[in-house]
């Protein structure tokens, strides 16, 4: 997929996935890279920024397999921000789809 698409969409994907349930970094990286090819290392600076902007919070929880893990959870502000991003995304994608369809009709 085109790189420009991915950059904008990554933030949205992260928020949507954490909104559905709290996740730790590795888990989130796996869930995203199952669908979209990304360099997983770029997720952490993004998670850090979203946390600093108070869209996400973190907490540590023990795991059954070993040491405790840092979990990310969405805040009320994060949910609002996520909704705006979804709206923007929908508006953008439907506009692009419309344009493509119009062009196809002309051809």
């Amino acid at each position: 997929m085109n790189v420009q698409f991915k950059k904008g969409a990554l933030e949205l994907c992260v928020l949507v996935m954490i909104a559905s349930r709290d996740q730790y970094g590795y888990e989130l990286a796996q869930n995203i890279s199952n669908k979209i090819q990304i360099a997983e290392g770029t997720l952490y600076p993004l998670l850090r920024r979203l946390t600093k902007e108070e869209y996400l919070t973190t907490y540590f929880a023990a795991s059954t397999e070993g040491p405790s893990r840092k979990y990310y959870s969405i805040t009320p502000e994060g949910r609002i921000y996520k909704e705006t991003l979804i709206q923007d995304w929908n508006m953008f994608t439907s506009a692009v789809t419309e344009l493509i369809e119009e062009e196809n009709k002309i051809e």
């Binding site: 970094g25 990304i38 290392g41 770029t42 920024r49 040491p67």
Partner: protein
Amino acid sequence: MNKDQFMYKLAKQLSKLPEKDRKELLYDYEEHFDTGMMKGHSEEELARQLGDPRRIGKDLLAEYRLERAQVEKSVKHILQAIFATMSVSFLNLILVLGPAIGVISLYIGLCSMAIGLAITPFLFIGSMFIGTVEPFFINLFISITLGSGGLLMGSALFFVGKWLYKLTLSYIRFNIRIVKGESAV
């Protein structure tokens, strides 16, 4: 590349940061490796999926500098944020360096002008001793007018400076968000 090599390269990009902050930034990657290895993946495989550590390090550094510049407002911090953002990629360099040089030199120019104007009354007093202030009143009033103009301009520039600081931060943030990692993502 194994875990140690990855972590070493990443840490190298962050070598200028205080120990505590560096450890905090590196923690996420430690945890990533530990979890992945527990799930049966090799260090090499995990490092490959994470991407280029030098690049990630630059991203982290830029984020960190921005946070600092927002929390502790100072010329040093904003300059560090500007430099860290510029080094993320060539495109960032172009998009940040140009406006930064333009805006900073314009601001410095205006500040020196304000200082120049503000000191004209002192120049007037100074030249009184040398004896070249004729016509006296015209020169007196001109110097007072210019001097107060300089002071007004100076205090206006103080607020412009604060505003520019905020503007610069949001521009850098925008720049990082849009341009960041064209090869990394």
